[in-house]
Symmetry: C2
Subunit: 348 residues, 2 copies
């Protein structure tokens, strides 16, 4: 069975799940166009996920891919968190605001979220994927028994092997070029920063399951190249940010359409985990910040989102989590269905 | 005229010039096999270059590509250099050796090397390429008038545009994955670290001259992918390190064939410029060293080579400049001609 058959899609194109950017409308449009539409539910709870899945279902009966975050829950460190908030205070004050008094664990990890597991087993999306790690064997069994296809991210061969051992059916080879959060299972481990070409070839040669290439792919040429590398499909995220169905705000869209798109950088200061973002005021303030000074994900994200909200309230849009990959200058503001049709045409 | 016609080669494959690793025998074998063989003369003078070119010519009448380094000459900074040598002293002492008393400019930049220019004009290799920057308009004119095809490295769109303006006939899109020295014209400028896929697409779309993709490409699948990205050819370096014609020493070959190949890192502490190396004892000691503390290229390289020599004399091979790209685990120890034949077969 090929990956496309397993996923029940026509085209080797997967729209990346981007919590906060991809929407049920986007996922439905992509799936109706023959590719795999995706939503990320890492920034909501089981109720929110159920609603999002229902919204997609109202628009399409085709395959849906739901992504969850499988990070280790953060260990509280009051001194570190207080120091971080003190460090951010002057930036809040520039916008006439105050940092939160303490950092909350704003997103629950799927590793211990029984309600989310139950929601998936009940709703049976075609595909569930894991980012930041892998859930327990029990949870994987429950999802598999519900007939759900499982996919995991890998940024290196060891993560790829772990995903295969855990019993997933495909691996996303997430290259260093990719926008948003690096899928690394341990953000404090050394990162070899493998690019999409090298990582895809390494995983295709080493793993017995299909590999999905991600990172820097923006058009049909990139998708064709990924297939030549031996990938069974390509995953594109940044290519969809400018779609009308995207939840990207006006500031993000303007930055993406400007020369700013030529500069992205990996930062962990926004969320607590390394993620690739358009170089903006937030990444600038985080330059030179030592990794160990940043509270763990998602604690840091509580402050990061508050700072962005304070900045936006003062008319400053450059503190957003403007996650984007290195192909950002090639983003196109097309409706998602038109983008899929364009990609399919370019591939031929 | 296509790039292959311009270069007078049959296959869209360029063996990367690797000073210290590629050899006249390798270049000749590659060119005789229908690809573009290359030598790097950045680590020798005009006399040495003439000899190397003659050695290639004795073995083939096909195209030859000669690469030169076009770095800005280093500014002397006695205090910085003394501090650097003091910092390295304990490492030398571990091997019963002493650091050099002062750092010498061991390699001359092509920017002011009249003898090298004259040697090229006289010998007329088919192709000369520039790394680390571009020579003056005069020098470019002299080379062009001698009928030499010119190529320059680019790690971003601005460097690509500069190369086109200078009048070169093709650009190497050197992705972040690539082994050896980053071609950045200013090592102290911010580096967006563009991967091969994104960089190739950006340059193919923006520039009016052929683009050669480099970085992470190790096999026919990688070359085919590069062509799908719109590149006119692919440049492979790491793929040739293990060839018998390579000048890589036994320690480097052993590291490349081991699990160590899975870990490369960019360091500027070995040579004074950022370069991707197998993670080894030298890159480990340079972790945490601030860029500003490292003397400029090639001053730092004088100490780096001395430290490696001291270590090797004591039986320790892990202080070498083991330049390699992220595809290192895919290197094959084949004679260069067999490797080219294998790559050509894999592409089909």
């Amino acid at each position: 069975m090929t990956l496309l058959e397993t996923l029940a899609i026509d085209l080797p194109i997967i729209q990346a799940p981007m919590a906060g950017v991809s929407s049920p409308a986007m996922a439905a449009a992509v799936s109706n166009a023959g590719a795999l539409g995706s939503i990320g539910v890492g920034a909501t709870d089981a109720n929110g996920a159920q609603k999002m899945i229902a919204e997609v279902r109202a628009r399409t009966s085709r395959s849906l891919h739901v992504n969850v975050f499988c990070h280790q829950p953060p260990k509280a460190d009051a001194a570190l968190e207080a120091a971080w908030l003190a460090r951010l205070r002057p930036h809040f004050e520039k916008f006439g605001a105050q940092p939160p008094e303490r950092l909350r664990e704003i997103y629950r990890t799927f590793l211990d979220d029984d309600a989310m597991l139950a929601a998936f087993v009940a709703a049976q999306p075609r595909v569930v994927s894991f980012h930041f790690g892998l859930p327990s064997a029990e949870r994987i069994r429950a999802l598999r028994e519900a007939g759900i296809v499982l996919i995991a991210s890998a940024t290196n061969a060891a993560e790829g092997r772990a995903a295969v051992s855990a019993g997933v059916q495909a691996v996303v080879a997430q290259g260093y070029e990719a926008g948003g959060h690096r899928g690394v299972s341990d953000p404090d481990a050394h990162d070899d920063r493998l690019g999409t070409i090298a990582l895809t070839r390494l995983l295709v040669r080493e793993l017995d399951i299909p590999v999905i290439a991600a990172g820097g792919i923006m058009d049909g040429a990139g998708i064709s190249a990924a297939l030549r590398l031996g990938a069974a499909a390509a995953m594109l995220g940044t290519a969809f940010i400018a779609c009308p169905e995207s939840e990207a705000d006006a500031g993000f869209r303007a930055a993406l359409a400007s020369n700013a798109a030529h500069h992205t950088t990996i930062t962990r200061a926004i969320s607590g985990r390394p993620a690739r973002c358009l170089a903006n005021a937030f990444t600038a303030l985080s330059a030179g910040v030592a990794d160990r000074d940043v509270p763990a994900y998602p604690l840091a994200y509580d402050a990061g989102k508050a700072l962005n909200a304070a900045a936006k309230a003062a008319g400053e849009t450059r503190f957003g989590a403007q996650w984007a990959g290195q192909g950002a200058p090639l983003a196109r503001a097309l409706p998602a269905a038109d983008l899929i049709a364009t990609l399919a045409r370019e591939m031929r």
